[in-house]
Amino acid sequence: MEKIIPTLSPEFAKRRAYRNASPYKEIWDILDNVFDPELPGLTIWDLGILQDVLFNGIIYTIVVTPTYSGCPAVDQINSDIKIELEKFGYNDVNVEVTLSPAWSTEMMSPEGKAHLQSINIAPPDENNKVICPICESENTQVISQFGSTACKSLYQCKDCSEAFDYFKHF
């Protein structure tokens, strides 16, 4: 079966255009080293929660939007952002959490979706077509609407019998 090629969502295209036009390229690039603590290898940029980099002439403000309102990783991510920027000499950094626009999986990058696939997590699909990340079968069933974290649900492949996480389309 063909590998799924994730297409570019309009939301992500907008984010990428915004980042490309930002004068603070260095900051955005440094933040590519900050990962979601619960999804190893997935950067906050790829996940879509990194929204903006602002500078008022004195300090930088990094704007992030939480995935779920009760996401326990938010505080960890905020401190990871500060630690990473400190390594590059940015000691006075403000992290701001915004609720608007509300995060959606459409904000994820294609690289992020491909990464999920590579660690055996089925990436979000707008039609909720859940494909087994191991054997790529479409013959899958939901076991539980909630998985190991709020952003995932639990599925099982009816062909290879493997249970896997599906990153919910949200």
């Binding site: 939480p66 779920y68 309102s69 326990p72 915004t98 609720l99 076991i143 539980s144 909630f146």
Partner: protein, 253 residues
């Protein structure tokens, strides 16, 4: 604070109270769920409500402007100062009861937050737009459970019917308007809960019809939550929830 800010503060704290109390109830299932996946699901829904409460409280603290935190609001108020609607504080009872309450509030929040996401207050609108996505997802889980329990064994159906009798006394309060909410409706910040009632009634009636359960409409029977008049159960919940901060005030991680 001027009067309109006071109204906004009370409104936000009320919504925060609804969320934190239901969150606490759901979290009581942690490690006691019927099976592992459901245990996780109940805890995840609890977490969503906890996040919602935090957002409302943080904003309330900002509106009040006295340097209080979300924790001050949660852990240092007494029973009579809590203004959650009563349905949120009822004990978890059995799984059928927990899920039927969840179904009722899921339907309510799907309708209510939809309207509230158009609030003239940007923060209220943003919190609602975030929270409604979660409530829609919660409904996707509570509906099949009600269907399954109502159409399952004799015992599961009996438990759903018992839960319905109990909950029918409390759903009506979801559509009750406080005076401060009414004045916020005039400025477009709040939403008239009464407008939602026919939609809620219709949705629940239709859904129940599929499981051959008769339901005509919600009636206002027991109320008092918004005025701080609670069932006997809230005090016990608060003593559990607030224990640590009451014993060691200001304790932090």
């Amino acid at each position: 604070m001027d009067q309109s800010q006071k109204n906004l503060y009370r409104f936000l704290v009320g919504l925060g109270d609804d969320s934190v109390i239901l969150s606490h109830r759901l979290s009581e299932w942690c490690s006691k769920g019927p099976y592992l996946e459901e245990d996780l699901a109940l805890s995840n829904v609890a977490l969503d409500y906890l996040g919602r409460a935090r957002m409302f409280y943080q904003y309330a603290a900002k509106v009040e402007g006295q340097g209080k935190t979300e924790d001050d609001i949660t852990y240092t108020r007494n029973e009579r100062e809590y203004t959650n609607l009563l349905i949120h504080e009822l004990p978890i009872n059995d799984f059928a009861f927990t899920m039927l309450r969840q179904f009722f509030v899921d339907v309510f929040y799907c309708l209510y937050l939809e309207k509230l996401s158009k609030s003239t207050d940007d923060t209220v609108a943003a919190i609602s737009a975030k929270a409604i996505k979660e409530s829609r997802y919660h409904l996707k889980r509570s509906e099949p459970w009600i269907r399954q329990l109502a159409g399952g064994t004799e015992e599961s159906r009996r438990r759903i019917m018992d839960a319905l009798v109990e909950l029918q006394s409390f759903v009506g309060e979801l559509f009750l308007m406080s005076d401060w909410e009414k004045s916020l409706v005039e400025t477009g910040i709040a939403v008239d809960r009464k407008i939602i009632k026919p939609d809620w009634d219709g949705y629940v009636k239709n859904f129940f019809a599929g499981s051959e359960i008769n339901f005509s409409e919600s009636e206002l029977k027991i109320s008092g939550g918004r005025d701080g008049i609670h069932t006997e159960f809230l005090g016990h919940l608060l003593s559990d929830m607030q224990f640590l901060q009451r014993s060691y005030p200001g304790l932090a991680w």
